[in-house]
Symmetry: C2
Subunit: 301 residues, 2 copies
């Protein structure tokens, strides 16, 4: 039930109709770990520069997150991202991005992490995702995120990666772009043909749909949130709760995936309710469990 | 359990990436009645001109649709609509429209229909919808569709209508426009404040969400259709199966509404699978029931 994540640690500035959050802690590995640690211990890997103002040990205090895989590079600078959201806030507009350490070598996976069974590789260059994956001995279930930039600019490495992993977790526009197919269900099937066992397509306020090579499908609406302040990190919280749950039950069959995606939906709903980590940070496993039951009620007929 | 519909009968020309269907039978009352009649007898009201090339008695042969409310106006011309769909086909582009009889007086509701208990008023000028509604004695459950044009151009009449009906069934863009609110859940709540008991928001390939003044909510993904040839009439088939089911159980409590919306989802999925009425026309109650069970399985965790 060991769970490893590789992803970014970011200094984020986010502007939404509800306010501005400047130079706050963000990044895929951070959001993922916050959500995943409600379910299972997390082995964290990621890199920051010498300028990182955040004490991650403090961020994750009391949470089951092992920071042995956190590298601090004295000569480097931390990843920075500025973005804004408008209207229904389904999509971020990137205002500025400084890759900094993310443009360098990926972190070294600590020897003690090499036996990790569940692995999440957050969005980055698929060539780097492959380098991380090669450092894990025999993962049981590997899930990967990517984005339009890599579909457009490094499709070969992405396709090579897809042939080696179990699950791709992407948003609907990315799925349509990757498959070159407007119908989202057909797009999912085309991506399954690229070699993954399962594809999870995230649709923001419209929920998610899961398709497997077995032919099984699962679809879930989003939680009906009346308070959406900052969607940043929602996708990583979704993946975190999903992988965290799978690691906790030590299974990745389709029935377990359904519950995992439902927990992902619930974790995302807490994340978007406030700026930066405040939403997911103020949740608890009990709150996630209670909302999971409400989600069940919301969709049952 | 009597069910009355008022809506359009159209001569449609539709172009999608999968082909063209010229001068075929369409219109909201037609699609609605096809879907509703799987569940309950339908009392049909609508008007055509002298040029109508369709034999509606033949269209509805073997289906439980009473055409006593069909008016043929010798001096008038039938409603015509031409539209096209592109990409993921979630939205129609109107290429041409000739209102013709729809710009005239609404049909007279036959005396034998005045005791109708379930009523669906398809999209038209809300002033006309009110005129129809006034001809019904004591409806138990009234549902209404509208569109952006009336929200922009006849909001007063629309708001007066909303205060008199039970249920509004509209798409997500219309809901946001009517409520002047980007968050769809907040938009639903704002529309409930306008006087309806229930609002059903249709999201095309992303399913639907139902909100009630009681505070209850229900959300359902769309059926995962790999074959979408022509979305025309999907919303009216949705409403048809929904109202038809409610009329068949003679109830409109929230639990019944859930099943009704699920049947609506299923009817819409058959409608979009082929051009014009071919999709919903080739379905059967058994096929709807079977897909309802599959929809249940698709969403359960």
């Amino acid at each position: 039930m060991s769970l490893l994540v590789n992803g970014s640690i970011g200094i984020d500035t986010v502007k939404t109709p509800f306010g501005v959050s400047e130079n706050c802690l963000g990044g895929s590995a951070i959001y993922f770990s916050m959500a995943a640690s409600f379910f299972a211990p997390v082995r964290f890997t990621g890199v920051v520069g010498n300028d990182c103002p955040f004490d991650l040990a403090k961020t994750f205090a009391g949470r089951n997150v092992d920071l042995a895989g956190l590298e601090v590079r004295k000569e480097s600078k931390t990843f920075r991202w500025s973005g804004s959201y408008k209207g229904s806030m389904n999509e971020a507009t990137t205002e500025a991005v400084e890759l900094n350490v993310l443009a360098e070598e990926p972190p070294k996976v600590p020897a003690a992490y090499k036996d990790s069974q569940f692995v999440f590789l957050a969005n980055t260059n698929p060539a780097i995702q492959q380098q991380i994956l090669q450092q894990i001995d025999e993962p049981v279930f590997t899930a990967v995120d990517t984005m339009n930039y890599w579909i457009e600019n490094n499709l070969n490495d992405l396709k090579a990666l897809l042939a080696k992993i179990d699950c791709l977790i992407i948003n609907e526009d990315e799925a349509r772009m990757l498959a070159n197919e407007a119908n989202l269900i057909c797009a999912a099937d085309a991506i399954l043909d690229m070699g993954v066992e399962v594809i999870v397509i995230k649709k923001g306020e419209s929920g998610s749909i899961v398709s497997a090579v077995s032919g099984e499908r699962f679809a879930l609406p989003a939680w009906p949130s009346v308070e959406v302040k900052d969607p940043t990190g929602a996708g990583d919280c979704f993946a975190g709760a999903m992988l965290g749950y799978l690691a906790s039950v030590n299974q990745a069959d389709f029935e377990s995936l359904k519950t995992a995606v439902a927990y992902g939906t619930v974790a995302a709903s807490f994340s978007i309710s406030d700026f930066s980590l405040k939403g997911i940070g103020s949740a608890s496993r009990e709150m996630l469990d209670a909302r999971l039951q409400e989600l069940k009620k919301l969709t049952q007929f």
